[in-house]
């Protein structure tokens, strides 16, 4: 398929920039469409939807943010802490607007796995189904969401 100017802009915006020092792709060499398709396949395989992912992440983000930097126990052994940050970050997808910085770090205290939820990250998943590239600090593994944040 021919690359449009909009696609080129997106590729530029997803790379390291004035706003995201490391970019959104990590060391993932795959095109964005392929990253998205692969993550959606993973979800489909376990019979889950993007909507379920977004609900779980948004709920966890909001609960951890209200902890004002203290540990918040989301579930047994699943603890979150919010880290403040100044300023706003624009979405790499044109038209999405700018998002409050600050991150909710959620950790499984037994297994050691963790995910970092940001307002921008949530928007990328909800609107574009983009969980970010492998190696990105802010990538959220779709299956890990259910492992950490879903009791069912």
């Amino acid at each position: 398929m021919k690359e449009t100017p909009e696609d080129k802009n997106l590729v530029t915006n997803l790379a390291a920039s004035k706003f995201s020092g490391d970019g959104f792709l990590g060391n993932d060499q795959r095109p964005v469409d392929e990253i998205i398709a692969s993550d959606l396949r993973q979800l489909a395989e376990i019979g889950r939807t993007i909507n379920e992912v977004v609900l779980l992440l948004a709920d966890a983000y909001s609960r951890v943010r209200s902890g004002l930097g203290d540990d918040v126990e989301l579930y047994q052994n699943i603890v979150g802490r919010f880290y403040e940050s100044m300023g706003r970050i624009p979405s790499p997808f044109r038209g999405d607007g700018v998002f409050e910085k600050g991150e909710a770090v959620i950790t499984d205290q037994i297994g050691g796995q963790s995910i970092i939820i940001t307002k921008l990250g949530l928007n990328l998943i909800e609107k574009h189904h983009f969980f970010q590239g492998i190696g990105s600090r802010y990538r959220i593994e779709p299956l890990l969401v259910f492992q950490l944040l879903s009791k069912s």
């Binding site: 706003f19 020092g21 004002l68 940050s85 044109r94 607007g97 700018v98 600090r137």
Partner: protein, 367 residues
């Protein structure tokens, strides 16, 4: 065969170059907007500029610096101002960043408005006094494990006029492939100390500017910033004050309190500083000394994660629990808040519940 390919490639390259040259010439000759007049704040200031550049750039060329973090790419949405006449239609880049209210009141992103004709614009008056400064890092002193105090001695211009509570935009330098960026920091020093500024900067994991400050910026190195910006400042009333801050949100409050002392403003003030544990406290001894010296000031640090068996004798709990405990009725107070958006949102909620009108709550949200 090879020669045909070379000829074809050469022909295409030359055609491309000629077309590019024609476009440049056409832009210069056909799209020559001539000299345009920018009338600011109902004629308070008038600029004659060469048309064709963005409004943001045209203003900066005339030493009027509108806050911007993206350098005019239309992605940070910091450079908003009102374009009353001559701005043309709102472009697709601006559209997502403007609320309905902003559209109604002619707010635009100045980096996306091209100066093609005369313009009438409106900007906050204090932006007239914003300048670009150069200074030298006089000291870089750790205040906690993740907050550092940066003191910048001014070299050009040699002094700065600002109001306690305002902020500047620090320009980081390029390092390890990371671009130069501009980030906003509140001034922690006091206005009378006008040959330098002090900043409290907290290290953000992977933060472009804060990593530069912590890992690359050395004492003695030159730095640039612009400012002062912002409307966060003490009001002129006599109402008792509740200050609430957390982390590097200390900076503007630290400046305001010491400025009050210098100017003999004796309004009753209670300063709540929220932190996790004792290792997150800074300026503690200085604030306790000020509290002893100034009868109008009470300093109340509150720790939410301090170990129970520690030697801490102050308040324990989140700031949002401590404020209503000590001030169940805030209806006569004014509040000044600086910190993370989460802390600000939670503080506004508890203050309004305690009877404080929303218009009496002034805040400097990190967002």
């Amino acid at each position: 065969m090879i020669s045909s390919v070379i000829i074809a490639t050469g022909f295409l390259t030359i055609t491309g170059l000629v077309l590019a040259l024609l476009l440049v010439l056409a832009e210069k000759r056909i799209l020559n907007y001539g000299e345009c007049k920018i009338s600011i704040n109902n004629g308070e200031k008038e600029l004659n500029v060469a048309g064709g550049s963005s409004l943001l750039a045209s203003l900066a060329e005339n030493d009027i610096f509108i806050p911007s973090a993206c350098g005019g790419r239309g992605s940070c949405a910091y450079c908003k101002l009102k374009v009353l006449e001559g701005g043309g239609a709102i472009g697709p880049v601006e559209e997502p960043y403007l609320s309905d209210e902003e559209r109604k009141t002619n707010v635009r992103l100045s980096c996306q408005v091209k100066v093609r004709n005369d313009l009438k614009i409106e900007i906050p008056k204090e932006l007239f006094s914003v300048k670009r400064f150069t200074g030298i890092v006089e000291h870089k002193k750790p205040l906690t494990y993740d907050i550092t105090e940066l003191r910048i001695k001014l070299t050009d211009p040699a002094t700065i006029d600002f109001t306690a509570g305002q902020y500047i935009q620090l320009e980081s330098k390029e390092y390890k492939g990371r671009e130069s960026v501009m980030r906003a920091y509140s001034v922690a020093s006091i206005p009378s100390d006008n040959q330098a500024i002090e900043l409290n900067i907290r290290l953000v994991p992977d933060g472009i500017c804060t990593t530069w400050v912590f890992d690359h910026l050395k004492e003695g190195q030159p730095v640039n910033f612009s400012g002062p910006y912002g409307e966060f400042r003490l009001s002129g009333t006599e109402a008792p004050i509740i200050f609430i801050a957390g982390g590097s949100g200390m900076a503007p409050i630290w400046s305001i309190i010491r400025d009050m002392k210098e100017k003999n403003i004796n309004r009753k003030a209670s300063y709540f500083f929220g932190a996790h544990s004792q290792k997150d406290l800074f300026y503690f001894d200085e604030l306790k000394a000020l509290e002893k010296e100034l009868p109008w000031l009470t300093y109340i640090p509150a720790l939410s994660g301090e170990p129970e068996n520690s030697d801490w004798k102050g308040e324990r709990g989140r700031i949002t629990e401590i404020v209503p405990k000590l001030f169940p009725d805030c209806s006569q107070h004014e509040a000044y808040l600086c910190g993370s958006p989460g802390m600000i949102d939670a503080s506004i909620e508890i203050l309004t519940k305690a009877g404080m009108p929303k218009e009496k709550i002034y805040f400097d949200k990190f967002a």
